[in-house]
Amino acid sequence: MNMMKTMAAGAAVTIGVATAAHADCGIASGNVSVLANDFPALHAVVSKAEECASSTVTFSKNHTTEHRDIQVAAMTANPSEYTTAIVANSSVVPLLNGGLIRPLDDLVAKHGQNLKKNQLITIDGKIMAIAFMANAQHLVVRKDILDEVGLDIPETYEDVLAAAEAIEAAGVMEHPFAMLTMADWNLGEEFVNMYLGHGGEFFKPGTAEPAVNNEKGVAALNMLKALVEFSNPDFLTYNTGVVAPIWESGNLAMAQMWGSSMGQLLDSEGSTEEVVSGTLPVGAMTVAGGTTPASSLWWDGFTIAANISDEDAEATFLAMLNGISNEMVMEGDNNDRAVWLMDAYKPGIAATGISATAAAGAEPYPMLPYMGLLHGAFFAELPDFLQGNESAEQTLADIEAAYITAAQEKGFLQ
């Protein structure tokens, strides 16, 4: 995002609020109070929702990077501190587990004529959240480098390995590949993606018992290890904030990154013309002869708190509908801030990777009540294996043991 654009957008939003402070959202009265993460796309949504504020509608918001840590306590209180929390597939789980958000079927039937079927997050037949943006990890390549070594754009991770080897052998780059392998939540996500690509199931069906200690788990681990061989030895410290600058400096030929980072890679800030023009987002890879991409799909959406009055719930729902309206997408440069699910969205080149990944049939990140615990076990145990201290089987056994300990504490397993 370049500086001038950000400023212009900021000014546009401010002016928008000033002139259209009393947008007609059809709300009689009520309180709206929003808890959301702190990044530009969500600022755009919440600012648009704020236009519904009037003499009878109070509006407050809290954008914070710590939203996950306070949401459960904030919405357990009665009345809830927030009438809506903006969540993603993983952060909605604690709210669902605690019964802190309400079904939205009535509100959708009454006001949600313009929502698309695919925006309705349904759990057990009840609509629990309204999604408005999508994200996924996928491959981004330097077309010019691949051309230089005479290779096509890879479609499988096996191709990626071959290409990386060719690039190294040709002496073009020392460490041509990177993925988001920082030894925290990021690394867990990479394993989730790779395991999904191998067609693996995380749990025994219908139970909370882990089921990752199998051939697919071993294969996924070995593929990750083969990939990081072509990555810089610092790979366990790599998150988006580290990989993006390396990409922009022209020291990478292929990387697995979030679709939401593509805008940064494709603008000229921090990069050279050569790198930008060669940068091409492609879909997620498949692996081991599978057909499902080795990636998981993510959505961001809003929920409505359970512990609030029906009046406030309706007011909040209407305000948030205004926030995710087509007008919001068309305002300023909001269109390019995310891959929106609304009709008015015009996908640019930065969105091609996410669209390709979704079209190829990637799985959504599981919304299981205990998935977060397994994810935690992945990144706690994987570094040992990736650093070559442990066998794949031992690592998978450790993952299951760590998960079982946590799941017992949370009452998912006895």
């Binding site: 669902l96 349904t122 219908g206 410290t237 799909l297 009540p369 504490e409």
Partner: protein, 343 residues
Amino acid sequence: MKHKTFFWFILPSLAAMLLFIAMPLVSVTIQSLFVEHDQVLVEVENCTPFKCESSVAVDQEATAALREERPLGQFNGLGTYTNRSHLAFPEVREAWNASGSLHDFGARLMNLPFYKALAFTITYTAVVTPFVIVLGLAIALGVNALPQLVKGPTIFCSLLPMIVTPLIGSLILFWMVDADGILGAALQRIFDDDQLSLKASHSLTWIMLIVYGIWHSAPFSFIVFYAGLQTVPQETLEAAQIDGATRWQRVRYVVVPYMTPLVVFITLMQLMDNFRVFEPIVGFSASAKATSLSWIIFNDLRGGDIQLFGSAAATSLLTILGVVVLLMPVLIRTWQEFGRKVV
């Protein structure tokens, strides 16, 4: 001082600590003895923007009923303390039986998260604390010998490592020590090894964290020592000099004994702070090579989407226990001194 006067003087302070530390401490202790009630799971149909699939969810009504019945969850005794995430008694026993040698046993022990963290925590505490004390004293002696004019700015500059927000301080250092950063590149030059990376090697990561710890804490001990130096009586020093003591002997036999109470104070605070080392691990993204007890607590509470309160509570109490054991010698000393002061 009379009981009643004492009570009124200490009341505000005591009330704040009881309310905001002691009460949470009690609740944390209780929490660590319980695990959550069984979650009633049901199979459900989930739809997302991408597809519908059958999945599992928590049965709200059934679980709410259980929660109503036993709000604290199920009593687990010390079960949480002995499970794999903490002291891991069954796993340790198994490792002991399966291992052929002490070395092998150690390797198996390091596969358990708590012991892995404990190993780094203790190493860090044991190395950083003495270095901070020695370095602080050396800087204080050096600054004390400077001309009056430059003392002021020197003291400010010496305090900088302590007063820059660690959040950003470690981020900037993290980039400086990168293989492509100014310090990382300099080290590669010095050691003539263009593959050298502080972030990739296990032992270099430990050294980096320890050096950061010393750098960050040295100003604290420096300022305390510097102040203490002002109290060393001139006459004693001069008398020692007349007796023919070298400068080194004067430092060793006059200055250092005067500093002893300060050393105790700094040791107390440093042991406690170093045992809770946390910020550099996050700042340097070093959790793959080095974890600490405080990092485990952080990871349980903030690492993922589901918070493990019971587990964090147990680790917190084990940390406090560790601190108390570490401070025991100092505490005994304080007890003896206190006995002498009785009115």
